[in-house]
């Protein structure tokens, strides 16, 4: 009764006094925060969202960000995957517009061969350099 009204008033007060941090008045896009009904598609979408970089954040994926634009990007990913696109196509579409920067998974191209080759290369080089430390028992 009385306490219910108090709570509503307090609620309204808190909502009003929260600052508008350069955000729009519109709510989040539908598919920003709703999971796709098909679990396999949702898993694909989720995996891709974790690899796409938020354009307006300091180093977060769009899966991990509260920013509005990140939400709209999540909505874009989910809608396209629901429509039948492969995750790689959606990623390519975004890379076409923002460059490789927007993908946390670096591409496999000549510019990034050192990155992808490093593990095996370092292992082999290290093992070769260490060969003198080891003695092979014969017989």
């Amino acid at each position: 009764m009385g306490s219910g009204k108090m709570r509503h008033a307090l609620l309204a007060l808190v909502l009003v006094s929260a600052p508008v941090l350069a955000d729009s008045e519109l709510p989040a896009a539908r598919w920003a925060n709703e999971q796709l009904p098909d679990p396999r598609q949702e898993a694909e979408a989720k995996a891709l969202m974790e690899e796409l970089r938020c354009l307006v954040c300091q180093g977060q994926s769009i899966a991990d960000s509260d920013a509005e634009l990140a939400g709209d990007m999540r909505a874009l990913v989910r809608q396209r995957i629901a429509a039948g696109e492969k995750p790689e196509q959606v990623r390519a579409w975004l890379v076409e517009r923002y460059g490789n920067w927007v993908s946390y998974r670096p591409p496999v191209e000549p510019a990034t061969w050192p990155l992808w080759a490093a593990p095996i290369l370092l292992l082999l080089v290290g093992a070769w350099l260490l060969r003198k430390r080891l003695v092979r028992r014969h017989g």
Binding site: S61, D64, W101, V102, T112, L115, P119
Partner: protein, 640 residues
């Protein structure tokens, strides 16, 4: 007044570090007297820096707004613990903490190190003084924590709400003690290389410092991971963020160093590797400190600093690391290595361990800096994030874990006995788990599947060294190794489980509706306004049950007025087999609230594993120090 006293103490300590450096050159003549002088100077330096740090804490606790740092980072209405911890929640304060630990470590070495000959000890203290001098200069000339603000504002800007958490009281000091503890290993290596005295004695002097620093780094990183997990509200526990990588790299080097220094202390082998790792470990600490404060990395963790300070630290870095590595390159040829050993032996296993850890270190280093290098060379911006690190470091870590199953079962120098029977327990359990996952959980990814199998196999394999021995007479160090490796297995199982079995549910719900996630039924009851000491919030009430009993979860969307920020306070329920993680989001236009729910089976094993690793290290440290005390007492009695 307090601030000026603190500043004066810093200047005095800096002058003393210069004196210590000068004195350490002169050592070798009248050894007894000069060593006493160096000890006194080192002690005074440590105490003065500690006093300066205390002064900083005091001005924060007093909310002295005439000190610029307090005005920019604190607020009189904050709870006292955040005034206290806020002293190091910023660049200048954390730099003062860094320097304080450096000076204190130097003092402890000066006062208590008795194993080394005086010339090597002198060179070590000189190196430590040189390090301190540079960082004192940086602090006093470019990052004065005691700078005044005139006129003083009525109140401060407040502490970033994300930092207003008990984690701030624990995570940074622990990490800094770890980073800077490695400085002693660095200085010992420099001292040993200068004097040409690299051997088991140096390793025994180095070992407790490496162990202690490594334990603290392990606990600090574990704490940081858990803090990010519950604070940031998206259920992740590691992001391969550049600042996180900056803390991981010293740890990787320190882990390799830890294993290496044991071989040098006990067997006289791996001299060059140990020295290199000792230099690399603290170099990684310094590089990490630089990266976080220079402004060149984008990260939620980074301090907001300007490039001028970055240039200063870069110069220090280039000077210290360049100097030490040049010394290494020229002097290491004179160091006599021990006899070579077989591939199949404990030493062989340790060398493989060092190699793998160094490769992982190299990968993390390369991945973190690659965007920078690529842009410098080609102008193109690219990002290197979790997909890269997970797919590359993950398998490498599993190879290392497999090695961990094998190497401790091998004998030193040469192992001719049949190995397979000794490996049986670990391998059999691993295979059993692997087959089990194919039958019970066919849909999980390859990496988590392997993680479960290898983690499972490592559990018995890590305890094997304890089997068949008289447990009471087994050295504590062996207990430590077993528990630490067991902790690694636990952590791997947690990581694999989180990766394979987490269930996520996003829902827009009205009060009264029920949401399902994993085995849980979660009833969304209400949202009400609440208030805390310096915040207001909207708190949701959720009632969750999975069978019997009801758990109440109260996630909050919290608003801080100064500085104005909104944070998500997740509500977490921990049971024996996992965590239920709930976050309250925003309202949509139709009276529905955004709820994010995760069921994370066995995720707590990750941090439990980290604690076990630290515990294992602590046991080893205590065991070795107790043993050395006993040996010293017995030695003294023999002469009595």
């Amino acid at each position: 007044m307090i601030a000026e006293a603190g500043l004066a103490a810093l200047w005095l300590a800096a002058a003393l570090s210069a004196l210590q450096l000068a004195l350490s050159f002169g050592l070798g003549g009248e050894q007894g007297r000069e060593m006493r002088a160096v000890r006194a100077v080192a002690l005074a330096q440590g105490l003065l820096t500690l006093f300066a740090f205390g002064a900083l804490i005091a001005v924060f606790l007093n909310s002295d707004m005439s000190v610029l740092l307090v005005a920019e980072n604190s607020h009189s209405q904050k709870p006292w613990i955040y005034k206290f911890a806020g002293a190091w929640g910023n660049h200048e304060g954390s730099m003062l903490l860094w320097v304080a630990v450096l000076a204190l470590a130097g003092a402890v070495v000066a006062l208590f190190e008795r194993r080394l000959d005086e010339r090597t000890l002198g060179a070590t203290l000189g190196a430590q003084a040189a390090l301190a001098l540079g960082f004192f200069a940086f602090l006093l000339f470019a990052s004065n924590p005691f700078e005044r603000l005139n006129p003083a504002p009525l109140d401060g800007r407040g502490l970033n709400p994300l930092l207003q958490d008990p984690g701030l009281a624990f995570h940074p000091p622990t990490l800094y003690l770890g980073y800077v503890g490695l400085s002693v290993a660095f200085s010992l290596a420099v001292g040993g290389l200068i004097q040409g005295n690299v051997g088991p004695a140096l390793a025994r002097a180095m070992r407790p410092w490496v162990l202690a620093a490594w334990i603290l780094l392990t606990l600090g990183i574990t704490a940081g991971s858990y803090w990010a997990y519950y604070e940031l509200g998206w259920g992740g526990w590691w992001f391969w963020d550049p600042v996180e990588n900056a803390s991981l790299m010293p740890w990787l080097a320190a882990t390799a160093l830890l294993h290496s220094v044991n071989v040098l202390a006990a067997r006289g082998g791996l001299r060059a590797w140990t020295m290199m790792l000792a230099l690399v470990a603290f170099s990684m600490s310094m590089a990490g400190t630089f990266l976080v404060r220079s402004g060149i990395l984008t990260s939620v963790h980074a301090f907001a600093v300007d490039p001028t300070r970055g240039t200063f630290i870069l110069a220090l870095l280039a000077l210290y690391i360049g100097g030490a590595l040049t010394l290494f390159a020229f002097r290491i040829a004179d160091v006599k290595e021990g006899a070579p050993f077989e591939l199949v032996s404990r030493e062989g296993g340790l060398v493989a361990n060092n190699l793998l850890l160094s490769v992982i270190l190299g990968i993390v280093f390369l991945g973190t800096l690659y965007p920078l290098i690529a842009e410098a060379l080609s102008g193109e911006k690219l990002s290197v994030g979790p997909p890269y690190f997970d797919s590359v470091a993950g398998p490498m870590a599993l190879v290392l874990a497999s090695l961990m199953m094998i190497a401790p079962q091998l004998r030193w120098r040469r192992d001719a006995a049949p190995i397979l029977p000794r490996l049986a327990p670990g391998v059999l359990v691993a295979l059993a788990v692997l087959v089990g996952t194919f039958i019970l959980t066919p849909g999980i990814g390859l990496l988590p599947r392997l993680g479960l199998a290898i983690g499972g196999g490592l559990l018995p394999a890590s305890l094997q060294p304890l089997i068949g021995r008289s447990l009471r007479r087994t050295p504590l160090a062996t207990w430590g190794m077993a528990i630490a490796h067991f902790g690694v297995a636990t952590a791997i199982l947690g990581m694999a489980s989180d990766s394979a079995f987490t269930r996520e549910q996003l829902a827009a719900a009205r009060p009264g509706e029920t949401v399902e996630v994993g085995p849980w039924l979660v009833e969304f009851r209400s949202v009400s306004p609440v208030a805390g000491p310096n915040w207001t919030a909207l708190e949701g009430e959720l009632r969750a049950s999975k069978g019997s009993g009801v758990t109440v979860l109260k996630p909050q969307s919290r608003f801080f007025p100064s500085p104005p920020t909104t944070t998500n306070e997740a509500a977490i329920d921990t049971s024996w087999n996992g965590q239920l993680y709930a976050v309250l989001g925003e309202q949509d236009g139709q009276g529905r609230w955004q709820l994010r729910l995760w069921w994370k089976p066995f995720v707590t094993l990750i941090w439990l594993g980290g604690i076990l690793i630290g515990l294992g290290g602590a046991l080893a440290l205590v065991g070795r120090m107790a043993r050395e005390r006993r040996q010293r007492i017995r030695g003294e009695e023999a002469f009595a």
